[in-house]
């Protein structure tokens, strides 16, 4: 391998990249757009969810309950007069949940024997919006429980019912006490952008070179396959390393998400992962005849990338067989590392097994990319 030839190849690549304003725009705009879009999208907070209310009791106590539900802006109550109207609202999706307060709500509330027969309310959720209903459920239950407990205290009932059971669970989240969705999504977005964009850009760049014939020209020069490979991925690697730094800064300044661990460690690991991913792009393009084919392969590859890498859905929740399958994607391991550093501040020692796997992926993919370039000569 000649260092001089490699340097020439790299210079060529850098010039070609920076000459093309479109590629440059993509390199800056896609990561930033992805960060902002994904950063804001995941939230567990139920806010202003339309709640249908059928208040058959219509007493001061039941109105208090409804007012309590609206108080924190969690639910926006909308009154309905009949059950049919409420049903229609649920079917048309006007309300995401509904609460029905029976006429005997007050009587049961004031009843001293109410420990045996507590007031009853019915809550109906729109299960069609499964995620929403799942999260709203917890909020609604605790709001109703608190509100009724308050009402109960104010009731001039002689025999305050003894709490016969129940264990109070005092919950606290460590690492992200407000359960903010941004850090989780930001650390995953690195995995998505670095995997998808690298593969797409190399694939397109090589196929375009094939179309214009410069790839054939390269192969008749004295440059070895290794030099061609490195000449292709090192400049791109450098560009993407800059991209990583840019993303870290934007995530920090705009979204206020900084890595909990070492920033230098994160950038180094990400730069290495970019090389792994670029090798994958080389393989795709070396095995494709046309740009459309390379692109189609990349897009097909991006489905498991988004959905099986743990970026959008926790791998834990998948069936066993699929969980094994996810381990085959380098992105899965990179996202684990990225989350480890960003969310839990882990260092190289804790992440060693995942890092070793990434290195292994890198070696295998590079070797395969080299072979597929050689096969073309």
């Amino acid at each position: 391998m000649s260092w001089r030839r490699l340097r020439t190849l790299m210079r060529r690549e850098v010039l070609a990249t920076f000459r093309d304003p479109f590629t440059l725009t993509i390199l800056v705009a896609v990561p930033l757009a992805a960060l902002l879009v994904f950063g804001f999208v995941l939230s567990t907070e139920v806010k202003h969810l339309a709640l249908g209310v059928l208040d058959a009791a219509d007493t001061s106590a039941s109105r208090r309950l409804v007012a309590d539900l609206a108080a924190k802006g969690t639910f926006d109550p909308r009154p309905y007069a009949t059950r049919e109207a409420l049903q229609r609202a649920l079917v048309s999706g006007d309300v995401g949940a509904a609460i029905v307060i029976p006429p005997d709500f007050d009587r049961r509330l004031g009843d001293p024997r109410s420990a045996n027969q507590p007031p009853q309310v019915q809550v109906i959720y729109d299960g069609g919006e499964a995620v929403l209903a799942g999260n709203a459920e917890g909020f609604l239950r605790s709001l109703v429980a608190t509100s009724v407990a308050d009402l109960k205290k104010e009731q001039p009932s002689p025999a305050a019912p003894q709490n016969r059971g129940g264990v109070e669970v005092v919950t606290r989240a460590v690492f992200n006490s407000r359960l903010d969705g941004k850090p989780f999504m930001v650390s995953g977005t690195f995995g998505f952008v670095l995997s998808f964009l690298t593969v797409l850009i190399t694939a397109v760049s090589i196929v375009n070179e094939k179309l214009t014939g410069t790839f054939e020209q390269l192969q008749v020069t004295p440059a070895t396959s290794m030099e061609i490979l490195l000449g292709k991925i090192l400049p791109f690697g450098g560009v993407f390393a800059l991209d990583v730094v840019l993303m870290v800064l934007v995530a920090g300044v705009v979204l206020h998400v900084w890595p909990a661990g070492s920033m230098l460690f994160f950038v180094v690991v990400s730069a290495f992962y970019v090389l792994v991913s670029l090798a994958l792009g080389l393989i795709i393009s070396a095995t494709s005849e046309t740009a459309a084919e390379a692109v189609q392969k990349t897009v097909l590859l991006s489905i498991p990338l988004v959905q099986l890498s743990g970026f959008a859905f926790p791998i834990r929740n998948m069936p066993l067989l699929v969980r094994w399958l996810t381990e085959v994607f380098p992105a899965t391991h990179y996202i684990r590392v990225s989350r480890g550093i960003y969310l839990r501040g882990e260092g190289p020692i804790a992440l060693l097994p995942e890092l070793m796997l990434l290195v292994l992926f890198g070696v295998v993919l590079m070797a395969y990319a080299l072979r597929s370039i050689e096969a073309r000569r």
Partner: protein
């Protein structure tokens, strides 16, 4: 225009015939039409879910009593959790949370037994908040086990079910309509057609047009006695047909494979798909007008597909998004199409219930078609 209507439609038909022939021989498109829906159907049907499962957790039981063991067993019985890992100290549990070995860490204090007798038992639950969606759900599950837990099973309770239910101050009877078990599968699969059609219409249409321009066949067509409108219409027809095929595939696949049949009107389904497909294809035409090469067309399409998946609510509920972001999502036709799809498929809606999403889609189509006309003019002049 002096030409007769007859010639107009025969020109459209001719272009459509030519386009259909091209499509039939496009292997990449066939892959997009057949492989992608299969993968998505299988993934969403069997693998992907937001419902916690196999959750690793740790327990520090300082009371070591029968009651605390029963409480742990009750949590275990919800089925979301792996077998709990007993840790010897608070620090050990915290360390497990930190290295990801546990998502939840339950601390049962030494005084638990005594507190149960006094009627104020309390336990502490630490959650790994780094995955907020899972953490919120797990916290809610354990909290519910706690509030339903009958700490003192008294012998006078003849019917234990009643005792558990009336343990609290209020009896909340919950029901989940349309999807009683809150399966994520139903949520995703009912909107699958929207995801597939967005992918197909945008990338296929824009790539097809750009490829023609690259090959020079678009110029040849302009030289023929066809008007731009005829060309665009003729090109749209086969894509609309393919889109309906894909839509039917998604609906039948979800029905045959996973038993999720549309509860509402099939007519509404067919009607609402048309403006969505036309709108998406229109964006594809627009993208092709902006792009010079097929690579650029792909990048621009991805730029549109990505946010429309994320912000429309097909994957993440849009109701959770902060104001502002929620409104941005309303720009994308997929938002309105998925609302309509979910209403029809899950809630059994008919034409009247989907009037608003339908209206939004029609407005969208008109805007896009106007934009396409405006943008295509200079090129064709």
């Amino acid at each position: 225009m002096k030409r007769s209507g007859h010639s107009f439609w025969s020109n459209v038909a001719a272009v459509a015939y030519k386009e259909a022939t091209v499509l039939r021989h496009d292997k990449a498109l066939l892959a997009a039409v057949f492989i992608q829906p299969m993968i998505m159907l299988l993934l969403f049907g069997t693998a992907l879910s937001n419902t916690p499962a196999n959750v690793p957790w740790a327990v520090l039981d300082e009371s070591r009593g029968a009651t605390s063991r029963r409480f742990v067993a009750d949590i275990q019985a919800t089925g979301y959790f792996l077998a709990p890992r007993a840790v010897p100290s608070y620090d050990a549990g915290h360390a497990l949370l930190k290295n990801g070995g546990a998502l939840a860490f339950l601390v049962i204090p030494q005084s638990f037994r005594r507190d149960v007798e006094r009627g104020r038992p309390q336990v502490q639950l630490l959650l790994d908040g780094s995955d907020p969606l899972s953490a919120a759900r797990i916290g809610a599950y354990i909290g519910q086990v706690g509030s339903a837990f009958n700490a003192i099973p008294s012998p006078s309770d003849h019917r234990p079910d009643d005792a558990v239910r009336s343990a609290g101050l209020i009896d909340v009877r919950q029901r989940f309509w349309f999807n009683p078990t809150l399966r994520d599968r139903d949520f995703f699969l009912s909107a699958l057609a929207g995801m597939l059609l967005t992918n197909l219409c945008l990338s296929a249409m824009s790539l097809g047009l750009v490829a023609e321009r690259e090959l020079g066949t678009f110029e040849q067509m302009l030289a023929l006695p066809t008007t731009p409108t005829e060309i665009v219409l003729g090109k749209l027809v086969p894509y609309v047909a393919v889109s309906y095929l894909v839509m039917l595939f998604a609906i039948l696949g979800a029905g045959l494979g996973f038993g999720i049949w549309p509860q509402g009107s099939w007519l509404a389904l067919l009607v609402v798909t048309l403006p969505f497909v036309l709108g998406s294809l229109g964006i594809g035409v627009f993208v092709s007008a902006l792009a010079h090469t097929s690579a650029q067309a792909v990048f621009i399409s991805v730029f549109f597909i990505l946010p429309s998946f994320v912000l429309s609510g097909v994957l993440f509920p849009y109701q959770f998004m902060p104001p502002g972001v929620r409104e941005i999502g309303a720009i994308f036709p997929l938002r309105w199409y998925q609302i309509a799809l979910r209403r029809i498929v899950e809630r059994g809606a008919g034409l009247t219930e989907i009037a608003i999403p339908m209206l939004a889609l029609v407005i969208f189509v008109s805007v896009v078609l106007a934009a396409v006309r405006w943008r295509l003019k200079p090129r064709l002049g």
